[in-house]
Symmetry: D2
Subunit: 398 residues, 4 copies
């Protein structure tokens, strides 16, 4: 059956040419991202356990993880937690299948602790955080999901959304957080993981407002703190220059008051240690950004089962498609993808898969259409491969 694919020319000012652009990224230690990260780590680990024990991924959704804030006493050269942070791994998972018991809850706890060590190393996993787990029972509806040689049925009527390529501001916002964690931290160990980068472009000027939780034990005193801020600000500015010729202005921790000594100091590098709770699906979209100028989906991607949860699959797929089209099809300024399912229908046969393309001046729209359609069709044909990519951890979800 031919798929219902539409490629449409969109008359619209491309993002780079709009006057105002707003882009946000929450870093991996932001409480909402922590929730996303735990939810996806648990889901991935369950996928692999299911494959090991049962030969296939069984039904689960771990997308209700909650991060409940602790209380802390941050100090220069030290500080301690008063009450630990609390993470509740919650959701539903298949716990028994054909006489095989799957250790879902211990798997979840292990995955979360491993994730913690890999991603949030400044949190003492023994004493600063409690990882609790209360997975409810879910059940795998075999008929709808396992159809030999065929795509599973959609779990819901839902849609996914993606776009490409990233604008300059989007690239800067995304990479600022990534580089702070992966590179700048080597020189500035005080950098925490709870980073929020807000980029605002007004014509040719880009303003970056960066909130970064600083870790007290690596900082001697207030003057050290402020010198670190300056160093960090310079590094961010230098980094941004690689992506743009526009003017860039950087603000770091604008809430600080040098006189009153009120600064953004933490023990563990995240505001979850003191008052800020986090939930799955309320932060970055699966491309790593929050972009009010761009099409977005509300669906939480992290923690959803990657077999037939269209809210997860179609969002990840839309971004893959958009990236491929933007890279491989000539003459494209921006491309937006939307895929809509109908509950109970095969996931490789969406109700609609729509691409909106803003072509470059003079581009050949009919070439764009046929090549884009082919790319979309191929990804839909390969949709079960996306499930495997997710289980292998090859696709980011936030």
């Amino acid at each position: 059956m031919p798929r219902n694919i539409r490629v449409e020319k969109l008359t619209q000012t491309p993002i780079e040419k709009q006057e105002i652009e707003i882009v946000e990224r929450k870093g991996v230690g932001h409480p909402d991202s922590m929730a996303d990260g735990f939810a996806e780590a648990v889901s991935r680990s369950l996928c692999n356990e299911y494959i090991k024990k049962c030969g296939t991924v069984l039904h689960h959704n771990t997308d209700q993880v909650e991060v409940v804030a602790g209380r802390s006493c941050p100090e220069y050269k030290g500080g301690e937690l008063i009450s630990p942070m609390y993470v509740l791994l919650v959701g539903r998972a298949t716990k028994e299948f054909q006489d095989c018991k799957i250790p879902t809850d211990t798997t979840a706890v292990k995955a979360a602790k491993q994730y913690l060590k890999n991603t949030l190393p400044d949190i003492d996993s023994e004493h600063d955080i409690i990882i609790d787990c209360k997975l409810g029972v879910g059940s795998t509806d075999l008929q709808s999901v396992f159809r030999r040689g065929q795509a599973p049925m959609a779990n819901d009527t839902s849609f996914g959304v993606g776009f490409a390529p990233f604008s300059e501001t989007e690239n800067i916002v995304y990479n600022t957080e990534r580089q702070m964690v992966l590179n700048f931290k080597k020189d500035i160990p005080a950098i925490g993981t709870d980073i929020k980068v807000m980029g605002m472009r007004k014509n040719d000027k880009i303003t970056l407002t960066v909130a970064c939780a600083m870790i007290g034990k690596y900082i001697d005193d207030a003057s050290h703190y402020f010198s670190i801020k300056e160093e960090l600000s310079d590094k961010i500015c230098d980094l941004a220059m690689k992506y743009t010729n526009r003017e860039v202005e950087v603000f770091v921790n604008t809430g600080d008051h040098e006189e009153s000594g009120c600064v953004y100091l933490t023990v563990t590098g995240t505001s979850a240690e003191m008052g800020d709770d986090g939930s799955v699906g309320r932060g970055n979209r699966c491309n790593g950004l929050i972009t009010p100028n761009r099409p977005m989906s509300m669906e939480a991607t992290s923690g959803k089962n990657p077999i037939n949860h269209v809210g997860k699959l179609y969002n990840l797929l839309s971004n893959r498609m958009a990236n491929d089209i933007a890279e491989k099809v000539p003459g494209i300024e921006d491309v937006h993808i939307r895929i809509l399912s109908q509950i109970g229908h095969p996931i490789d046969q969406p109700l609609i898969a729509s691409a909106q393309v803003i072509p470059e001046a003079g581009a050949n729209m009919s070439v764009i259409k046929s090549e884009s359609e082919a790319i979309i069709d191929q990804w839909l044909a390969d949709i079960t491969k996306v499930t495997e990519m997710i289980a292998r951890g090859e696709l980011d979800t936030f």
Copy 2:
């Protein structure tokens, strides 16, 4: 100080002229909406309790409410719950202020129970649902919030987004759910509150996919169920015709299998009774819709404090501004509003308040600019009135 307001002409195909449009609304009994509803009801009730006891709204955020699914045995002419649904009212609230103790948790429980009775009457509040409450302690930072005669300081660097007017499809999707609950239910008591309306317009054909949890006790048997579906489908079709001349196709509960007897039957009218959990901020935006073709914000609006939480205030404000501009300023096809705060700055002085306007052919852009700017400026000047409107319950948040 003059405000930083930008009104920009946007070259873009207006929504009604785009080929593909996708619009979704989750009804009040959808688990995510339930979470939103409880969160906002609690916040509103706390506002009024704070005003009564302390003369002003104190700091709180109740936006982490969780709805945990129960287990049910639905049946025609009856059915019962096996395990009750569980609602955890969680978040943070100021519990003491100048020697006055505020009964935050009992206020929250009362508000939630009242909300339940008003909005979800088919749920037996005594036995089908557990309302639990574990509000953490928050504290009111007096300096930043209460500044005599002045606007409070922004709690965060964040943005709000709005647009107007609604397209035909948006109007249909929104009103389908509203009319099902408020009117159709009078004739068809089996209509539950967990309704999901997905609208997809492809050029001049609108497809509505409606999932509606049916209440077993009002239905005699399968044949009655299917006759109700038909009646409902007709009513929805008739309603849609009031908003459009386009072709409309309606699908109700497409997941049903008439042969196998598999239908969407519930005891209480919501899927939260059997396996579907819900969280705040993952459903409708504050205009009541999810619209991937339109600018959106990720911020949860429900349950946030309405004093200085820009994620809440700016989203509500953006939609007010957009509506006013669309109504009062002549020559406008679509208007998009974005407002961006910077932490620690007064909320009536955003970093940017941006309007993107798609003018009608021949419209006078300079008139549009000046009139739109005036409307935006006036709303920002009146921003503390929005706080009051929220406390009085005059603004919907989902």
Copy 3:
């Protein structure tokens, strides 16, 4: 098989002739008794639901109920709760049996709410208390429990203990609480249910120390409070006189300070509203008393399954046996019963059933032995009737 029954003469000063005697009773509104009461009400209700749905009582233990204190602002003529009390109905129950789903959790919630209304009427069940329920899964091991025409196998190696008759002090302590709740409250509505009666007899003088949570809304002011205390003290003294010719001294709420205004005032009549938590099995033994002079068991009786949980059955049975022997067998001062099970053996065949008898001077010990043995043997033969009496609510457990 003959049962292993031993009746032994015990050389011991009978309780009434010992110099010092200490007896305690926690009233039904004491947090520990609340936990006991909820646990047993839930177990009883599950028994009846199991019988209704499956024809027999299935495995469950609901003896881990927790009462978590709220916070309150008591006042004369009023007062309100700041945070509700929280009751967690927890334990294990069989949720499915031969394709029948048993609504264990909703049954538990209903039972707890009903118990609340019947027993603790001054607590507003809607807003002052949260009844939560998280029953885990248990399973009925059919082989060991259901043996046609035979007694079930003991779930554990454990023992039960009982004695009779009550001493004067024991009767006074028990009936003081009972009469305060059932009779005195008609005249003095301010009497709460959280009553603790401590009786100490030193030779021929009995000192009663009574702590009684007073309910603010029924009291006008401090002078009213102290007049109520006096009235109550007189009534208790009069009551005690019915049970003894010894001297009786009564202290009510000795912690009060008339000068500082520090009194034992509550909103709901229980200290669970403000800081005092409660657990199952930490208060009264199943005869309603705590008696360090007497043999006691540590086993929680309330909430245990009444089929094969010897910790419950043997405690209730021991007291029945002791009462029967004390009433029917002539020449007995005191009788103590102990019954010891061995896991996996039939519950009507204990490892030992021992009676220790303190005979009156001149009593015929061989008659006592044979009659006591007969009574013990009969009760063991009828042990499954005890299960039925428990399910019908005919036996108190605390």
Copy 4:
């Protein structure tokens, strides 16, 4: 003021001469003992933290700890947990004192994890168990507790109970568990910590029924299991012989069925891994035993604050006094101590401190009286030293 001390001669068959005696001990890995152990470890650690930060022990009670069972798949040579065990450290603690914040919750978590490593080494603290902590707020009532140079005021009207010396059966039961954990395990690593020893003496025959959770990873197969049982049974028998010349019969894991392969196998050495929950105060009394033939108190000792909680102090004190009297005063068969407080009175001035003594034939009762009174008086005078001993961990509580 002279203290109210009574030493009374009790006419009673001494324990060793009674026909039937029942004694029980729950080992450190029994779920109820686990709860006791965590509760006391947390309290002790809080005491030390309070002393470090504030110079004195502040108010707290951590006696509501709950151990919620996990689910496991035990196997010979291995096995794994399906769901982790869950420990909730709950109770109340003073979190702020004179501008000093005390890290109560992190202290509690650290103490519990340390306790786990020291006492329950076969439980993987990383993945097999979740340590959660939700301490409520308590407050230190300074006036009643801190009275310069004087004893604090009693927190309640309550009593403590003790006796000495241990009978043969009591010694055997106590030391069986202790030696299994401390010595036998060196040779038989399969011995778990969840041990229940039930001793029954019938005249001159002692029957020991021992339930011991065996650890699968140290056992090759069923035949290995049963050979271990035999070895263990022999060792227990040999041990018992050191304490008695009576006949001793030992049963180990009587619930096993060799034919059906049903044995008492675990992954971690405790039944808390599979279905058995535990609570504070429902197991051993503070002398380490449950003894229905002996005076007992219902008060939970573990986790209570050691400053003015008479339920804790008087139980520990009663046993110290009884031991001292039994050791130092000549001519004593058995001694029972009971101490009764009245709320609001100094803890060194109990309402009554009563000793009941069963003298040896021919003992001089007036010497016994005067020497016993002196010992009791001295301990009451030194009562604040007991607080210090508890904080230093010198007194066992279960």
